[in-house]
Amino acid sequence: MHKPFAITLDVGSSLANHTGSWRNARPVYVDRLPPCNHQCPAGENIQAWLFHAESGDYEQAWRKLVEDNPFPAIMGRVCYHSCEGACNRGKVDAPVGINSVEHFLGDEAISQGWKFAPPQASTGKKVLVVGAGASGLSAAYHLACLGHQVTVQEAGPLPGGMMRFGIPKYRLPRQVLDAEVQRIVDLGVTIEYNTKVANVLESKQSGGFDAVFLAVGAHIAKRAYIPAGDSAKVLDAVSVLRSMEGEDQPMLGRRVVVYGGGNTAIDVARTAKRLGATEAIIVYRRTREKMPAHDFEVEEALQEGVMIKWLSTIKQAGESSITVEKMALDEKGFPQPTGEFETLEADSVVLALGQDVDLSLIEGVPGLTVDDGVVQVDNRMMTGHAGIFAGGDMVPAERNVTVAIGHGKKAARNIDAWLQGLEPVATVKHEIATFDKLNTWYYSDAPKTVRPVLDIIRRQSTFDEVQGGLDETNALFEARRCLSCGNCFECDNCYGVCPDNAVIKLGPGKGFDFNLDYCKGCGICVAECPCGAIKMVPEEI
């Protein structure tokens, strides 16, 4: 062995030195639950579908979205998008416009004619869904995807439930509703219209169904006693909105008073404006802060010239006028009468005081309990009667389309488990990716893209859709604002910042791994991960 002067050893690589033995904590890649996903009543995996939208693969984004919710185009219009309120980006500049990207994806799917993936192999099980509203159709979709034979029985002449008979056209154009329902029908779901289920057990028996999902909604308007003259015109909000779908539009007159403070009251007042009312006045007994209607809807209504009379109750209704009493809030925040009266001119009064559930079909069902006018269900959406599940507005929950769709999905998955004789699978929720888990330095500042809003004059006189959609560039821009909270988006930061080259890049879509032979456990990768997808765990020593 010949070596130069004073050299006794061959040159070696430092790779022989396994510095991983220094470590007392190791980094681990994790998937944390993004706050938007956590918030979504329909359980959408928002971060995951935005991930595909970011790269411009809208079809893949849409397919990811409809794994949880078959109605993206409807959601993009009527969902109250509480996800955006939870969005971590709101703490950086403004929340990601999740709802507007969903709107875009839904419309894109309709214009491109994307279809659902064919269902899994038939299970041979038959499921009856009662009611073709948001919840029933959502359940039918998920059950059909799982390979069950689904029949939907609907009392009305058309599908959609409150999406059609409660939400005005200016918020949800009917061709959008029809397109998304048709896609579910194309999956092999049978919808029988004008078929009112009188007794659920009889229908289940005669149709040979293995399970039932009840989703009849809440369509009976609550009444309040108002002394009214013979000629006074007192209507209820449900029938006014329902008759908008028929040939004959309701005759409300020039001056319309709406009684109530929920979203339905706003919908009726805005509808009245569009029907030509010169005055649409909402009478509500409490204040704006206490109003259950969503603030943006109140704002849009005020822009369109709807007037709101706060702290007032209707005492009496006459032929062309009503008497209202002023209220004052007591120290507990409840409205109390003041004895001060006022007269308002009114051609008609529309009551929008909430809705009750028509429970006639479940009378005498053993084990099934009704409390406070709604059907009680357990954590898998099953009623007290085995095999009969329920969801949507007829069970205790917030009443909106997204919640109803979420019920449908949850019930469908539990019906599937129940039919197979499986225990309900408790879903393990990941830790939430809270703002403090992020390193927002790596995201550049970018303001939210605002959707176009229909010109005010056209809003007051037509039923055209008020809120438009984003175009492709805007939607892409908006999707790319997503911080990808808690889930790796392959930014290569960990791969770059490791002083010990101890991160292995596995290639596109495959993520990264740690080379624990050399990782010293410094934690820089955790500190510099923009989205909080790595955490340190102590080594067992």
């Binding site: 050893l9 061959d10 040159v11 070696g12 690589s13 430092s14 790779l15 022989a16 030195n17 396994h18 510095t19 220094w22 970011e54 790269s55 330095w441 790596y442 995201y443 550049s444 970018a446 821009f477 790319r480 604002r481 997503c482 911080l483 990808s484 988006f489 392959e490 930014c491 290569d492 930061n493 791969y495 770059g496 910042v497 490791c498 002083p499 010990d500 080259n501 101890a502 890049k505 290639g507 596109p508 080379n515 032979d517 050399y518 010293k520 456990g521 410094c522 934690g523 820089i524 955790v526 500190a527 510099e528 923009p530």
Partner: protein
Amino acid sequence: MEQTVVKFYQTGTFTVGNRLLKPDQRSVQANTERNNSLNSGHRACQGCGEALGARYAIDAAMKATHGQLIAANATGCLEVFSTPYPETSWQMPWIHSLFGNTAAVATGIAAAMRVKGRSDVRVVAQGGDGGTTDIGFGCLSGMFERNDDVLYICYDNEAYMNTGVQRSSATPPAARTATTMPVGPHPGNVFGQGKNMPQLAMAHEIPYVATATVADLRDLEYKVTKAMSIRGARYIHIFVPCPLGWGAASHDTIRLARLATESGIFPVFEAERGEVTGSSKIRRRVPIEDYLKPQKRFAHLFGKDPDTVTIARLQAMADRNIRRYGLIDEEK
């Protein structure tokens, strides 16, 4: 600075890579084909900023020279932790001679390459702040003055870390080191002394001088790449936090470099022929305390009775940098 601005609202241009960018727009470090010039198994401390800065810089230089690169290395942490005989972490031709002669050794290599007609082979010299601002300063000044075709990279961690954290002429005022203890009426390092090495390099009017930090990889790679496109003497001063010497958490290395630039205490700029040609703007300005507090070497400034006078003097230094290098755009 002439950087192509790629707007990516998810990640900005600030992350190492981005799946949405074309491969040629991504950083050198994002590429699995990167040279890993300073390989795994080196014995630097957990979270070493110098190890990180050296890989960032040399990988970029290797890419720019198609692997035709020789490095001369001064004595210091970088040399000690990377080459305990007979192991080496360097995946490139690399030589260590003495503490103070690195610039001269590099000059010699460059001269040899010229004689051999190997204009494709380029030379870098690298060292810590001690080997650059103190011990090797004479050789380095000569290299600048002769305009030898060498890129000299100084990894500045603001003290002699290898021998146990002694003060260097790059140690900041008020900082505790083994030789500037926090005792007496003016605890820590004194004000008004030390060397501003980038300014000294600029005074030689060499073709290119730049500063960079491990907190801005893209800027660092851009500057190294630009330096390798130029012939003659070039100098890059890279700010590399030292968790051990500064008394900081090992995971805070990049964060500290970021706070140093965002407070203004370490200005990031480039200069050609002695004139500043561009500076990196502060994105989210922070007070100097945000930078000082995570470091135990400044702990004596805080506590129950904060030394507001000294903190204000350090803040004034940061403010001066902001004015001097235009680190904040004037109100538009």
